[in-house]
Symmetry: C2
Subunit: 271 residues, 2 copies
DNA sequence: ATTGTTATATTTGTCTGACAAATATACTTT
DNA sequence: AAAGTATATTTGTCAGACAAATATAACAAT
């Protein structure tokens, strides 16, 4: 497994070498200045070694050359193969960790594990942006009211029999755990995610999942009265019925009605 | 500006101190094992110093204690204020950079600048996820066909007069630069982004912007025939007219028709 | 036979000090 | 006035060291 990553011949350029092109270009500009040539060249940024390393490792992962679940060579080996210092490598690892691509553990059998990033990263990015812009929570609710009916509408055509039985199973679980608020909320979220997936569109699924997660995080704080939970189960049943009869517009309408009722809980307390 | 960041009293705990709780808990579990108590305690992760530093600085930014455009203290100062090594601090900085929150420059008047992250980060996350799952490009197109009409529909009600005149201005620019493919594509994207904003919903705007950017990146590669560009201008005019008459469903329909025609260019060549 | 103890090796986490590279500013030279 | 020079400041990179976490094995104890 020594050179299996194909990293051995990585040129390990120092900053001077990497910026050689820039310097040459500067010289040219200087000598040409006597003629005042008007030239428009956009500022080029010199990449850091840590970025290059991160890019290299990232491309290994996304191109499938190292599969999810595998453990990368130890930092020691990577350092010797890449020809960079450990500090630089570790900065690159923090970037990949931010991407949700890796995870590190100490000790033997530890090391750098390759992960399959899920919607969590997308959720984090979205959450950060919304926090920074002081986006009111009602916008998240509105977004869900707009997106989830879309999923249901398309899902009525596209849902497989298996997906429908899974939805039914989740409703059953909601019923069983209706007395445990925490467990119920979790099951309800799972049911919603089931709907998100029906459209068979990854982009839509990822988006709605992010929105759903953020709303759910707030929901567990607020709490959910028993009456609301009972209504929730009934609503879920109605939605499933509409999906089973392949009636997309009906399913969409029921989803929207359900969400609209659900959202009232927040809008009462919220500003 | 010495202690203005409120970082001075950061405890700078070493790993042993940070993990004290964990060790204590372990002991408890061990002594309880004689009774084989079934207990479910989720694995607690020990945060790294770099993560704590990143969290601290991030919260300073999102809470508005340091405003966008400001320059953080130099690494040297931060190191002394936070009580961590430079290596640790720099790992934290790479995380914040991944979040799109900061940017660094060398030299005097350089340093760590606070940025306002835009949709770019969201786009990066989405792009990474889609690449990893080998999501076909057609799903991106479909997602846009679903989301953009939504924006137009809501936008017909919510658009301000100023937004509508801006849209008109962008159509004018499209007309003027119809011979320059690159410039035209850029203007068209700007027009679309104008529509995304009409719904006055940040979540929807960020989502559609990400999808639009990813599609646009591909479009510039493929190229756009002149005939298509002329049709594009006409379509944009029709959409604006519908928006002006506050006819949401008409605007949505026109957007969808436009996109459907546009998407055919890809689906012919694509598998 | 299970449990506890100790030793050991491996891997990541952190710190320190040093030098190189980029760059704004002041100063000098032409 | 323009170009070159010196200098100071800040980030970028490297090397080496030690600490902490942890899997494994060997051994002792009950």
């Amino acid at each position: 497994m020594e050179n299996s990553l194909g990293l051995s011949y990585f040129p390990a350029p120092n900053r001077a070498e990497r910026k050689a092109d820039r310097k040459r270009e500067d010289k040219i500009e200087v000598s040409a200045k006597r003629e005042r040539v008007a030239m428009r060249l956009d500022t080029l940024k010199v990449p850091r070694a840590s970025e290059l390393v991160a890019d290299k490792l990232r491309s290994l992962i996304v191109n499938g050359e190292v599969h999810v679940g595998a453990t990368l060579p130890s930092e020691k080996e990577l350092v010797s193969q890449l020809g960079v210092s450990r500090a630089t490598l570790r900065e690159a690892l923090r970037i990949l960790e931010s991407d949700g691509l890796i995870q590190t553990k100490t000790g033997p059998k530890g090391g750098i594990q390759v992960l399959r990033p899920g919607a969590a990263n997308l959720t984090r990015s979205l959450s950060l942006l919304l926090q920074l812009e002081d986006t009111p929570f009602t916008m998240l609710l509105e977004a869900r009211r707009l997106l989830e009916p879309l999923c249901a509408n398309l899902g009525a055509e596209r849902a497989t029999a298996q997906e429908l039985t899974e939805l039914e199973h989740r409703i059953q679980l909601m019923r069983e755990q209706i007395d445990d608020t925490g467990a119920y909320v979790q099951q309800q979220l799972a049911f919603h995610k089931g709907i998100f997936a029906l459209a068979h569109n990854d982009v839509l699924r990822l988006y709605t999942t992010s929105v759903g997660d953020l709303i759910s995080a707030r929901t567990t704080q607020v709490g959910l009265p028993l009456a609301e939970r009972e209504i929730g189960v009934k609503a879920a049943e109605g939605i499933l019925t509409a999906l089973r009869s392949r009636n997309g517009s009906l399913a969409a309408r029921r989803v929207e009605l359900h969400l609209r009722a659900f959202d009232r809980m927040f809008t009462i307390n919220d500003k």
